[in-house]
Point group: C2
Chain length 355, copies 2
Amino acid sequence: VSASPAEIPGGHFRREIAEQPDALRRLLANRDEISAAARALAHRLPDLIRVIAHGSSDNAASYGMYAFGMLARRTVFRDSISLVTYYGVDVDLDRSAVVALSQSGRTLDVVDYVERTRAKGALTIAVTNEPASELGQAAEIVVPLAAGDELAVAATTTYTNQLAALALLAAMVGGREREVIDGLQRTAELQAESLERIERAVTPVAAPFAFVGRMYVTGRGVEFATAREIALKLTETCRIAAEPLTATDLLHGPVAALDPLFPVWVVAARDNAPAAVIEASTRARAAGATLVASGDAAAEIPGASFVLPVPSAPMPILAPLLSIVPGQLFAAAVAKAKGLDCDRPLGLEKVTLVA
Amino acid sequence: VSASPAEIPGGHFRREIAEQPDALRRLLANRDEISAAARALAHRLPDLIRVIAHGSSDNAASYGMYAFGMLARRTVFRDSISLVTYYGVDVDLDRSAVVALSQSGRTLDVVDYVERTRAKGALTIAVTNEPASELGQAAEIVVPLAAGDELAVAATTTYTNQLAALALLAAMVGGREREVIDGLQRTAELQAESLERIERAVTPVAAPFAFVGRMYVTGRGVEFATAREIALKLTETCRIAAEPLTATDLLHGPVAALDPLFPVWVVAARDNAPAAVIEASTRARAAGATLVASGDAAAEIPGASFVLPVPSAPMPILAPLLSIVPGQLFAAAVAKAKGLDCDRPLGLEKVTLVA
């Protein structure tokens, strides 16, 4: 008799990583609300889209800047929540839209921000796995993530479905809906096809990392969201102090802290691999850091000790849906090697309720 | 015969920390170009101000969001440089202004961003310590930082003068010029008066931190810039992997990585001390982390082992000009305790030239 996922430490997390292709297909099959949000954006024509979130959702927000920029030529930025909710700054919001990302829909300051900005005239869109939540009720339009139940504390399906929801919304606004729907269908296939191969590749890398205390995770452009999300996964499930840095920011100071016990993970996409990422890798290697390279251009990183390639995405903007997978599987493997239960990290709850 | 600062490891860094009050007074005495930038902003009335920078300058950019929000009710955000320079995304820039921060004025992608956005109609303002630099030539308006020669690799005077320049520019746009000029004059006095006391306070804290490998630095709202800058100073001069996190983000995952060998620095301002900062401190302490509390509300942080208070600023938005000082002096003291030369961190140059 095999144990159920709930009985194996990290069983939920591992199972949910594997569920991502199905979760993505569910989102594609249930995209009416994304269309409604796109129509509202087309009708109200905001100059500015303010994205707000915390944790993994905020990593997805980083992706949103690129999705809207590249697919719809629209300006999106991660707004300061405390400027609105804590300092009560009253900026002009008539020509703004708000996209609020929260898996649970219960993050207090995100709900508060949406209530305040909606009252002042902003078009508010909630992207959440819990449409009936406080956030779902606070926003004018609700996009359900359709990710299914996510039982591990560390987000996986909700993160990748947030990326997909943002890409779809941007594509609809930018008139590229068909291309992105087809691309996401193909991405789900590529995720499913590559999962086992990636899992086999990460396992031997995990053991040497069981005693690592600190890491940098670097990426650039669309893959900076991936670097942030890999770093957060390693921090919360493996208790590694993993900090995300753009390749350029790594060179602006932190490279000075590197040594042979301080590995660097490089997310290298064909789309973003050149100069800065290669130079950051070379300088990190020169400082003695062990390099892990992932992404579809992982093989191009000079001096990498561990190479974890992923399939190329059908469109560059969809690469982060594939390049996150080695990070998730690596986190699961390192947690297992350290005897940690990544379904229930120390001191964390699934929903962070804080003002 | 006493050695010159150049002959003592870290001598430039220590001396430049102490020069900050004079540097601030020089900026105040040479504010014509800030007035010119404010007039241009009033004339062109951009809806949006895009700030771009790397490293310490990017930490100042975080402050810019709050300075413009609180003093002028204007929306400022840190734009993605790579979206414009690398992906070539062509967003509408007619109603945008750009504020580019670079101490040297030689950061390649910052110069490239300014050239491209100026060509597309944005009002471009360079804030730099080198007005004759490439950046100074690329922008329509140049604001000189007047910080004097900064010889240590780690920025000090240029960072605090960037904060002051942003506060002044926002105040001029928001019709609060007199109040902020008076506030900055008083801030320079408070910096000068408190320096020796803070230096005496950090010295005994430095020795126990000589073997610390990783830290979080947390702050909120206007003090998030301070948390980022303290973390960068500790990383580049002391080789500590110090990651900045908002109090809320610390609770959304990274708290799980804490243990007794993983200290947390809390920047607590009266302005931003409540709920989230206290809760983050309490949870970090519960995980066994040693707490260092600084800021004018340092005494309010429960369970702090080390308390480094600073004088209260004349206006809450000016607090970061005072609250950065314990971080700078602490970095100098820890570097000395570790035998590192913080004037010349390993693998860093004063100017980071990377595409």
